[in-house]
């Protein structure tokens, strides 16, 4: 187990290095940089731009240095926990991300919970009552959620919530709480607004979850040990929960790696449509204005979460399943 741990940790390092290079390249890919965009804006507003000021800004943002130097400065800062400085907000990245991060975590964590709560019972039902009307009905419903573009569903929900319930469900809290400190009333307001985005984002995730749980469980249920258990007279519920369900859960544990970053950044599109103060729209804006350090550091943070998530899920799987522990890796 220790060697497995060590090997797994060692492999993470080059991965993180390559990710950091990729992130940097991605941000540099679009032509121009933040300063040129900024200068264009100034010129469009009819302001004269002093060449000395340009040079000063360039130097201050570190944009006059060669690309590789910029990369190393950034990576060196990251290693020391310094995420850099956002050009656009004129604030350290940590402060820009701050509040948004927590709201994102709340939103996306509720979504993941919603997906699990909805899809587990349905998946188990569909597998144990295969080809029944309920199976078909739930499957169709799940697929409809999958096929409907998220952003459009959000729009429609926004409109009808307004017409039918007379409430505005855009945003994550009532307007008077924006930029206010945290209070009990604000928390309640967030809770009130949370259901709509959770519903919208959740519907697209449940279908695949139901499908996978159903398929896995069906595979397990047709195995001989289940027949044996039935033959020995175990109660049907116990037969289901004792082994097949546990085995069918393996892929979900393997999925934790993907869930972690989703919890932080998922739902960009829906957040844009419903104007939620989460990290999604911020990242979008940062990428579009080439706010290098904000976008880069945040992407890097997400990637780190993924890598850590994969590590955690590998550990859990190895702990659950000796076959993986001995082979030294998740085989899919």
């Amino acid at each position: 187990m220790l060697t497995f741990l060590a090997r797994r940790l060692f492999v993470m390092m080059p991965t993180l290095f390559f990710i950091s290079v990729l992130v940097f390249v991605i941000i540099q890919l679009p032509p121009g940089d933040f300063l040129s965009t900024y200068l264009n804006e100034l010129q469009a507003q009819g302001e004269a731009v002093d060449p000395a000021k340009i040079a000063f800004l360039k130097q201050q943002y570190g944009l006059d240095q060669p690309i590789w130097q910029q990369y190393f400065d950034w990576a060196w800062g990251l290693l020391h926990g310094d995420l850099g400085f956002s050009f656009e907000y004129n604030l350290p990245v940590t402060e820009v991300v701050g509040d948004r991060l927590w709201l994102s975590v709340v939103l996306n964590f509720s979504t993941v919970l919603f997906i699990y709560i909805v899809s587990f019972p349905i998946g188990i039902y569909s597998a144990t009552r295969q080809y029944s009307w309920g199976d078909y009905g739930f499957t169709l419903l799940g697929f409809l959620g999958l096929a409907m573009p998220n952003f459009l569903f959000a729009l429609i929900l926004l409109y009808y919530a307004n017409v039918v319930f007379g409430t505005s469900i855009g945003g994550l809290m009532d307007p008077e709480f924006i930029n206010q400190g945290w209070s009990f009333a604000k928390v309640m307001s967030v809770a009130e607004h949370l259901w709509a985005p959770v519903l919208v984002i959740g519907t697209s995730g449940t279908a695949s979850m139901i499908r996978r749980l159903r398929a896995n469980l069906l595979d397990e249920l047709s195995k001989q040990y289940v027949v044996t258990a039935h033959a020995k007279g175990l109660s049907p519920v116990r037969v289901l929960f004792k082994y097949p369900l546990r085995m069918a859960l393996n892929p979900f544990i393997a999925d934790i790696g993907n869930i972690l970053p989703q919890v932080v950044s998922g739902s960009v599109l829906v957040s844009v449509v419903m104007s939620l103060p989460t990290t999604g729209p911020m990242l979008l804006a940062a990428l579009q204005s080439q706010d290098m350090y904000l976008a880069g550091s945040f992407l890097m943070f997400l990637a780190l979460l993924t890598v850590v998530g994969m590590f955690v899920s590998d550990l859990l799987l190895a702990w659950l399943d000796p076959r993986i522990r001995l082979q030294g890796g998740v085989s899919q």
Binding site: A147, P149, L155, L269, L287
Partner: protein, 389 residues
Amino acid sequence: MSRSDDKRNEHFIDTAPFDPWDREELTAAQEKYYLASQWQLIWWRLKRHRLAYVSLIILAIMYASVFIVEILAPYAQETRNSEYIHHQPQAIHLFHDGKFVGPFTYGTDFSIDMETLKPIYTPSDSRIEKIRFFCSGDPYEFWGLFEADFHVMCPAEDGTLFLLGTDRLGRDMLSRMIYGARVSLTIGLVGIAVSFILGILIGGAAGYYGGWVDATAQRLIEVIRSMPEIPLWMALSAALPVTWSPVLIYFGITIILGLIDWTGLARAVRSKLLALREEDYALAARLMGAKPKRIIARHLLPNFASHLIASVTLSIPNMILGETALSFLGLGLRAPVTSWGVLLNEAQNINAVAVYPWLMLPVVPVVIVVLAFNFLGDGLRDAADPYKN
């Protein structure tokens, strides 16, 4: 011990004469079944899967219509009916005053709601505009090759035929949706081709050679999978030069979608190959001097080709949804090109939902296509599984 107990040990012996040369006769149907190739078996099983079969037919019709969108659409792509802006969908009638007339629409009169400034079109109850079939209407360039004006269906002379309404420039929604199908349906196919080639090449090399090739490929896959999808799309499509023509942008977007999608396929190919290369027949092929390329392509790939096709079918809808998402963000295809994503982009304001709900109709074909691909993929996966009876 009594005699009756001994009877239990007696064996049953058939007294009928036994002919060792007698062979079981197969019926024609059985023979056909046993001699059928793997692909034929898959096809038969797929046909039994009702939902998948229906989906296949729907998709076949839709893809066939992609070739002749100009003929199917009642209007040309960019025809602006400037007097009919935001016209609501028109109903087709068959009877007028209890008399059978054939399919027609009522002409509409324009007025404006002074409060909301919403145009109102009230159908008159006398002006009958008979729909013409197999007629000449708006001129267009067929595939950009030659000029023609033949349509399956056109409005009456000086009449209107807006079955799904018009948009803010008075363009017929139905025609635009039909034209949009050409882009939206093919974008998934081209993208999947890119991802298929990459996935098989990289996954195949990783799985067959193992060692450092495998390790490198694994790291690459891990790196790409660690990045959230949307930022990758955004950054890559923002990198497409603005000066590119719409067609080039189209190919750029497909390649981006493919470049991000291949990792899942590569992992599947790799793990299958890892297992299969240990099989006896792979060893036999190697001992007989076959080159790796031949062993992979000739002996190993056919083993799970059907699974690959099923998983590819399941990832096409992701590409179609990806295109709509990108276009919605304004990072995908742009206005002169018409795709379902572009059309939905125009419907993204609350105004469209509240006042002109027909602008959201392009979502219907998106949902249908995504559902059909999912059902078809499911059916294919079941059909391709040899252990299922």
